[in-house]
Each structure stands twice: as structure tokens, then as C-alpha cells.
Point group: C2
Chain length 367, copies 2
DNA sequence: TCCTCGCTGTTAAACGTTTTACAGTTAAAC
DNA sequence: GTTTAACTGTAAAACGTTTAACAGCGAGGA
């Protein structure tokens, strides 16, 4: 199986040049005579030679890898983030090492530690809790780091890219109240997660301000199936709310599953706003109205920040905060007479219409 | 930013031992006196030292990385594969480098080439077409390789893990015919992909055998949105079929989206069988009946084969073929009188019931 | 003609580990 | 009391690159 791979030396010998020349041909650091270059390339091809990254990295100290850590590789939000990061990484010829912390603080530390062993050019991490991993906090001065999504912007020790979670809560809350909803349930994953708390705060505050009511927040965890059970259980012992606002894509799934199991009609009996924007949300008779996170933008910005840091920038940690938008589709119904709890039309807006807050001031926005 | 990281030598100096001892403490290859070990560990912690993988790998030749190549990091099937592989990799303390070929044969080659540059312990690849990437074909003798999913088992140059695609087609086809469906559409991604052709073959053959009818196969590509448009367009110029069998998770989404846009009721007007089994499929009023691929099993087997090869096994390429099952839920309706094309009950089986072919002979099955 | 310069190519010294061969020390065996 | 064996620790040689430093050699300027 393992006939040893060709080395610089062998290629050099075969092409009748020094190893430095071969190295130059591959790295392009110094010009090489055309005729020699041809010979080297021929020899390399014949031996199917390829630079050994370990050796290259050891000597040069440069890595051309980034480590990406996420809390869950089964969560579409994180994988779509990874997908986009991989695209930009390729463009700048970096490779990507992925690791999942599985929402486990301890595993997070150890995964980060091994990631660091690669001496990567940088780390993009979605922490699994508010508190920045100790490894990262310690190492942040030595390695470019960007924290994404689950972060408290204020206290950050590194660059961050997040959405305006409070505003996301507000947008959904406002829309729901405007549609006449009063009895609203907030389907959170876990209130231990700062961004989730922010979304709740945003929704609660605007709902209270506009309607004087207090929405109910329930925690469904970060597993859809279990979340569905919890929610179903909750539904059994409470009167049907008129609307549900799911705060993550997983709780969206959980709520939808529970509602479907109990044969609750959407939006006739219960309106719902989901979180994140995925194809399956439109692949239904009553397409889902949802808060859309700008995943592309998040990934782009994270990569941009990382490159800036790799480039040697040592300025203060830079927080980027992006805005979400509401994709209005068909899962929220207008209640004609709020007090009666009954209405006519499913939704006023055109399906597909977007209520975008893009025009509003974007604090800390790059450019 | 980049104060240099501590090295073995520095730790050794601080602990007052030789670098060999420090190395032994970390690798555990040779026993080290407890008192010394303590000293070394203390020194290491103080310097927040961590073995440099590049150096380690260069010297030892062992990598503890595997490269994983998939055609699309936005496709849940592939990411769930990666998720499971990452779990097993961690268990055996390997790291995972991911790369996407974006269904581009040329990119596939180059991604594979760079992957190889890491001198990984092995490669797990989902090729983007039938023909095995040239790099891999050339290198397969030197590096443990497992090909997954999109593979022609017979001609494989390396270990393969696939599902029985023909059988998957048969299962769905048989079920549909048994439910009284005759006018069936096969929503394929691309007939250039061997497994898809097999699924089509399986469905066509059994449908023909049982009902004498020929289903129509249409190609929707591997992008859900575009697929939806193509299918919508097709629907406009053809009479409604009584059932759709979607052959991939993306075409499932595409078909569902198109059907929803045209306000077609499922299963009243059209029955549908999807592919793959994801949470969103159950998170709907009429939960989706679908062919389930055993993703866990696929990942487990792929990893197992890889480990066997890494262990030095040089026997003939080993094909593993897994069986799929039909998750019967609510999206297929029984047609009472096939000729009339109208029926009564949505489905005979209990929702959630599984028609499993597990008991059948499993060719080439491990164990 | 001599000197300098630009252009290419080479030599050789690292980079931070792993690992072999060896040395020293103590315990067990005879 | 000597020999052996069992343990631990160390010195030093790689691993395959990158990258100074340097060398050879025409050409152009003085």
C-alpha cells in the first residue's frame, strides 16, 4: 500500500537540478529558466510528486489552513456557514479543518486545543455558550480568531460576527402584534444562550409595548425530535396560542412537528414565524414566514475579518452586527378582531415579500 | 499578534529534562518517572505548549487526519455524513479536513490533489460522477481510500459503501403500484449519475412488471430552486401524475416546492415519495413518506473500511451495499379504483411504519 | 578593461518533532 | 559477588521543506 511518496530530492535528481530550484518552481518565489522549469514539471508529474504540507509548514511557519468549530454539524445553519466559508477559503487557497463541539463546553475546549495543534492561520468558531472558550481567550493574542453567532458582542475578546438578535425578536414580535396576535409563544432553544435571550428580550419588549401582553417563552433544546415532544407536552396542558415565534431553525422544526402531530392547522388555528430561511420552508402548501439570517453575509464578513487579522492587523476587537429580515409567506394569519381570535385572510402581504431592515442604521457595519 | 509558540526544547529546558523525555510524556511511547512527568506537564502548561502537528507528522510520517470530499456542502445528506464521520474520527482521534467539489469534475481533481498534500491517513470521497477521479485512481494504491454513494460498485478501484439503489427504486415503485398508482413520475436529479440511473431502473422495472406502465423520468438537477422551476414548468404542460417518486433529497424539495406553488394537494391530488429522512419531512401536516438511507450505517461502514485499510489490509476492493427502507407516512394515498384515479383513504399503513428490507439477503454486507 | 549589476542556480542550515541507539542505575538471578 | 535484565533517561540523526547566503556569468556603464 504505502510506497513512499516522492520528495523534492527525488524530483531534483530526476530533473538534474537542485532541490532549491524545484522548490522555486513550485512556490514561484524565484524565477526559474523556462527550460529547467519544464524539466522539473515533467519529472514531478512522472513521480506524481506533491509538496508535503507538513514539511512545508514546519519550515515556513505558514499554514494555509483555518480551523472551523461549530456546536453541531447536523444543524443546517452551521453547515451552510461552513459551506460558504469553504468557498472563500478555496478562493484564497486555504484548507478547512472542521470540528464539532456538540454543544459540550468541555469538548469545545479540547477540539479547539487540537485545532490549535495544526498552527492554523486562523480560527472561526461558533462557541457553544456565552463564555468564550478558555483556550481561545488565552490564545487570542497569538492566533487570528473570529467568533460567530453565539457571542456576547460587548465583552468579546476577538472579532465577532453576529446578527442583531434583539432586533430579530422585535421584527417578528412587531409583525405578530400588527397581525392582531396577542397570545404568543416564544419557542426558544435554551435561555442559557445569549443570542436567544436577546431574541426573547426583543420580542417580549415590543410585544409588551404594543399590546401590553407578555408572551410565553419555552425552552425546547437543540434537538428537534426532543423539542417536538416537549412542545407537544406543553400544548396538551395549555390552551392553543394564536401564534408561535420559533427562535432557531431547530425549534422551528420542533414546533412544526408538534403542531402537525396534534393536527393543528397553520395558520388557521395557530400562526407561526420560523427562524432561518431554508428550502424546505417554502416546500409546503402554507409556506413558512420566517426570520432570515444573512448567512452569506455572515460567512463573508467572518472570512474578511479573519483575513484582515491574518494580514497582521492588531487593532481592537471588531464587532460586526448584521440585520435580519422577515420573509413573509403564508404561515401567519391576520386576526380580524383580536379579541375574538378569529380572522379572514391568512396574510396581508404578498407571499415572498420581504420586510427588510436594511435601510435602518446598522451599527458597527463594515463599509 | 504572533509571539512564537513554545516548542519541545523550551519545555524541556524549563523542566530540566531532555526533549526526548518531553516527547515521551506527550506521546506515551516510553514510560516516564512520575516526578519528571509532573515537572514536564507543569512546564508545558505554563508555556501553554502543544505538540506541533506539522513537525510531528513530518518526522513520524503518520498523519491522524482524514480528508473528506463531497460534491456539495449544502446538501443535508452529505453534511449528515460528514457529521457522523467527524464523530468517529474524534473517537479514534483523527481530525477531518473537508472539501467540496461543487459537482465539478475538475475542481474535484484539484481538491483531491490538495487533500493529498496533507498526507492524510485516508480519504473518504463522494465522487461527483461515475468515473473515479484520476488522482484517486492513481493514488489508490498508496493511500487508504473509501468511495461513498456515487459509485459504480462493480468497477471500483477502492472500497465502496453504497446503498442498493436498484432496490430503493423497486421498494418505492412497488409501494406506489400496490397503492394503485399507475401514472408515476420519477423526479431524478441527473441521469448522468449512476446511482440515480439505478434508482430509475429499479423503479421502472418493477412498475412495468406489476402494472405494465412506464413511469416518466425527468431531470431536475441538484439545486432545489431551479429544480422546482423545471418541475413546475413540466407540470404546466402535462396532466397531473397520480404519484411522484423523488430520487434525491434535493429533488424531493424541488417537487414539493413546485407542487406547493401550483397549489396541488398532497396526497389528495398527487401522492409523493421522497428520498432521505429528515426532520422537516415529519414537520408537516401530511408527513412525507420517504425512502430512508441508513446514513449512520453508511458513515460507520465507511469509517470501518478506512480503518481496516489504514491498518494495512491490502486485499481486493471491498464493496459494501446497504439496504434502504420505506418510511411510510402520509403523503401517499391509496387509489381505490386505479382506473378511476380516485380513492378514499390516504394510506393503509400506520404512519411511521417502516417497510424494511433488512431481512432480505444483503450482498457484500460486512459481518 | 574593470566593476557592478541583474539574473539564475546551488549549498546548506534550519524548522520541531520522533525514534534509534546507547548509557546509567537498580533489582533480580545465579 | 558477578551477570543479566529491566527501567528510565539522553544524544543525535533524521523527516522534506524553505530560504538565506552565495556563486557564476553575461551585459552594460565607466
Amino acid at each position: 500500500m504505502t510506497r513512499k511518496r516522492a520528495t523534492l530530492t527525488e524530483v531534483a535528481k530526476r530533473a538534474g537540478v537542485s532541490i532549491a530550484t524545484v522548490s522555486n518552481v513550485f512556490s514561484g518565489r524565484k524565477p526559474v529558466n523556462d527550460e529547467l522549469k519544464k524539466r522539473v514539471e515533467k519529472a514531478a508529474k512522472e513521480l506524481s510528486f506533491q509538496i508535503d504540507r507538513a514539511a512545508s509548514q514546519l519550515k515556513s511557519g505558514k499554514a494555509r489552513v483555518v480551523g472551523v468549530l461549530v456546536p453541531d454539524l447536523d444543524d443546517t445553519f452551521f453547515t451552510s456557514l461552513i459551506s460558504r466559508i469553504e468557498v472563500m477559503a478555496l478562493k484564497d487557497s486555504y484548507d478547512v479543518i472542521v470540528a464539532s463541539s456538540r454543544d459540550d463546553k468541555q469538548l469545545e475546549e479540547s477540539r479547539l486545543q487540537t485545532l490549535l495543534g495544526w498552527r492554523p492561520s486562523g480560527i472561526i468558531a461558533v462557541p457553544c455558550s456565552d463564555i468564550v472558550p478558555a483556550v481561545l481567550a488565552r490564545e487570542v493574542a497569538h492566533i487570528p480568531t473570529v467568533l460567530v453567532d453565539r457571542v456576547i458582542t460587548q465583552s468579546a475578546v476577538a472579532d465577532t460576527v453576529t446578527i442583531d438578535n434583539f432586533e430579530a425578536g422585535e421584527i417578528a414580535g412587531r409583525y405578530l402584534v400588527e397581525m392582531g396576535h396577542k397570545d404568543i409563544v416564544l419557542a426558544a432553544s435554551s435561555l442559557d444562550i445569549a443570542p436567544i435571550r436577546e431574541r426573547v428580550r426583543g420580542a417580549v419588549s415590543i410585544i409588551h409595548k404594543m399590546s401590553g401582553r407578555e408572551p410565553t417563552a419555552i425552552e425546547l433544546g437543540s434537538n428537534a425530535e426532543r423539542g417536538a415532544e416537549i412542545f407537544a407536552h406543553w400544548l396538551e396542558r395549555h390552551p392553543l396560542p394564536s401564534a408561535v415565534f420559533a427562535l432557531t431553525n431547530v425549534t422551528t422544526l420542533a414546533a412544526l412537528t408538534a403542531l402537525a402531530r396534534q393536527r393543528v392547522d397553520i395558520p388557521e388555528q395557530v400562526s407561526i414565524i420560523g427562524f432561518d430561511d431554508y428550502t424546505w420552508m417554502s416546500a409546503r402548501k402554507t409556506a413558512l414566514t420566517a426570520i432570515r439570517q444573512p448567512v452569506d453575509e455572515i460567512a463573508r464578513l467572518a472570512w474578511e475579518r479573519l483575513q484582515i487579522r491574518i494580514g497582521g492587523d492588531v487593532s481592537e476587537p471588531h464587532p460586526s452586527i448584521l440585520n435580519t429580515s422577515l420573509k413573509v409567506r403564508e404561515s401567519t394569519r391576520r386576526l380580524a378582531d383580536p379579541s375574538r381570535g378569529e380572522g379572514l385572510k391568512p396574510a396581508e402581504e404578498q407571499p415572498g415579500e420581504t420586510i427588510d431592515n436594511a435601510a435602518k442604521e446598522r451599527p458597527n457595519r463594515i463599509h
